[in-house]
């Protein structure tokens, strides 16, 4: 009766393997993003960074993981027990879910069978990503509230207000792209941007807005109001320790990875690159280009973090509501006019 419930075993197997592979890749990238963050921060500050664990400190993420697991798992007396445990789990879950709709490449020929390099081509991929990023805030909010600590609560309240404010501008910036490409599917967006026909040339303002909002949604500096060590001593994760804290921090890096991948897909042509056919090397060229772009944006995220100071909270709100949303609406109107004038 309904197409989504009809499945064949081979497809299920293929997709299951892909899920596992994608999961492993996501976790690895996130783990090495923590290493990259420390290394890049060090380089920006004329230091060397972690270099004791393995060559160039490459085993540092493993060491960090072992450290997180072996630390005392402390729970405050007055905490809401179940919600306190649920919060980091849900944060992690939501962070991992988002990568399902990102097209990492065209097709990979494995065992003589073409395998799509996208977990699922939802016809509403963009909305799916918006939906799951909007859910990410629950982990922070519930965690902060369940800790029963006023600093944590401040962190959650800030996080929720910030998320709501920046989601609007983010959605409006994305709508302009959707209007231009006429689809909500990320796969079709990537196909339309073949060669150097990237959306960034048509949507520079939209990209800027989206990028700023992505920083805010990932709780990255200069928008890391929710943790804000200097004011809130860690904010929503003040009371967290051991792997629960690790999950929060880790999920943040997964979020960063996924949002960088979304930026690369939506504005920078995804797996397309001029003069490079994404089908080369049996389809491996697409993912390589895609990952290169994603890593570049992760680098930019870190670059910004180690350059800019944190916003004050009222400045953050003013930027969101009084600058980005009007700009996004103007961008949307201009795009609408452009589509009417030139396309049809």
């Amino acid at each position: 009766m309904h197409s989504i419930l009809l499945f064949d075993a081979a497809l299920v197997l293929e997709k299951s393997i892909f899920v596992v592979v994608l999961f492993i890749i996501t976790l690895t990238v996130a783990a090495y993003a923590t290493y990259g963050e420390r290394k890049i921060a060090a380089f920006f500050q004329d230091r060397i960074g972690p270099n004791r664990a393995g060559p160039f400190g490459l085993l540092q993420p493993l060491a960090d993981g072992v450290k997180f697991f072996t630390k005392e798992d402390f729970m405050p007396n007055a905490a809401e027990r179940w919600l306190f445990i649920l919060a980091p789990a849900s944060f992690m879950f939501v962070a991992c879910m988002t990568s399902a709709v990102i097209p990492w490449g065209t097709e990979l020929t494995l065992f003589g069978k073409p395998v799509s390099l996208q977990l699922t081509d939802l016809n509403i991929g963009v909305l799916y990503i918006l939906g799951f990023t909007s859910l990410g805030v629950y982990g922070i909010m519930i965690g902060g509230w369940a800790s029963n600590n006023k600093y944590s609560l401040y962190g959650s309240i800030r996080a929720s207000a910030q998320m709501i404010s920046y989601e609007l501008a983010m959605g409006l910036a994305l709508i302009a792209v959707v209007m231009m490409s006429g689809t909500l599917s990320l796969k079709e967006m990537a196909i339309q941007q073949a060669g150097l026909n990237w959306n960034i040339w048509y949507q520079p303002l939209g990209f800027l807005i989206f990028f700023i909002c992505a920083l805010a949604e990932c709780n990255r500096a200069p928008f890391d109001m929710a943790e804000c060590e200097t004011e809130l001593i860690g904010g929503y994760h003040t009371e967290y320790s051991s792997m629960k804290l690790g999950m929060f921090l880790f999920a943040e890096y997964i979020n960063m990875f996924v949002s960088c991948a979304v930026i690369a897909t939506v504005y920078f042509g995804g797996y397309n690159f001029p003069l490079i056919d994404p089908g080369w090397l049996g389809g491996l060229m697409g993912p390589i280009v895609m990952f290169a772009k994603t890593f570049f944006f992760i680098f930019v995220f870190m670059w910004i973090r180690w350059t800019l100071p944190r916003f004050r909270y009222d400045q953050l709100m003013r930027l969101g509501w009084k600058s980005l949303i009007p700009l996004a609406i103007i961008n949307m109107l201009l795009t609408g006019a452009g589509v009417l004038l030139f396309d049809k």
Partner: protein, 166 residues
């Protein structure tokens, strides 16, 4: 298969909806409400209306419930601060809710049809079809809803505006 999924989702949504009402802690209520929304979004997916499902999650679970939670956290409601309701208030509330129920039953009694929708087009929930329907058949209600939202927004700004400009 889809019937089983439907039954599970239906049971879950009813269960979570009941838990929303019967939980003492307001924050727990909000979380159950979010779970209920997820169950309902699952129903939309079953009807092949992914757009509605995702928008439902973005708008209700992602934005409105965040605001709910935000306010609840600020208020910090718990047993100690909860004002004890007098019997008179409880009676009034019961009468008001009962009248609302009677109104609903009266309104739905004539129009309700429990037979399954047979001519259900599985493509109707897709974005293109939904957009076409919204901007042709339902353009007047759609625009009126838009004006309503605009008015609500202006009103909210007016309420939120301080008397003293800094």
């Amino acid at each position: 298969m889809s019937l089983a999924v439907f039954l599970i989702l239906a049971a879950a949504s009813v269960l979570f909806a009941l838990l929303v009402v019967f939980t003492k802690n307001p924050v727990h209520s909000v979380i159950y409400l979010i779970l209920a929304f997820f169950a309902i979004a699952g129903q939309y997916v079953l009807l092949n209306a992914q757009f509605l499902a995702v928008v439902h999650i973005i708008v209700y679970a992602g934005a409105i419930m965040v605001l709910f939670l935000f306010v609840l956290m600020l208020l910090n409601l718990n047993m100690d601060t909860e004002p004890t309701q007098t019997g008179r208030w409880k009676l009034g509330a019961a009468i008001a809710a009962g009248m609302l129920l009677v109104t609903f039953i009266g309104a739905l009694k004539g129009g309700i049809q429990l037979s399954a929708v047979t001519d259900h087009n599985p493509q109707v929930g897709l974005v293109q079809n939904l957009g076409r329907v919204l901007f042709t058949d339902f353009v007047v209600p759609f625009e009126i809803a838009g004006i309503l939202f605009l008015a609500a927004m202006v009103g909210a700004v007016m309420v939120g505006k301080r008397d003293v400009t800094i």
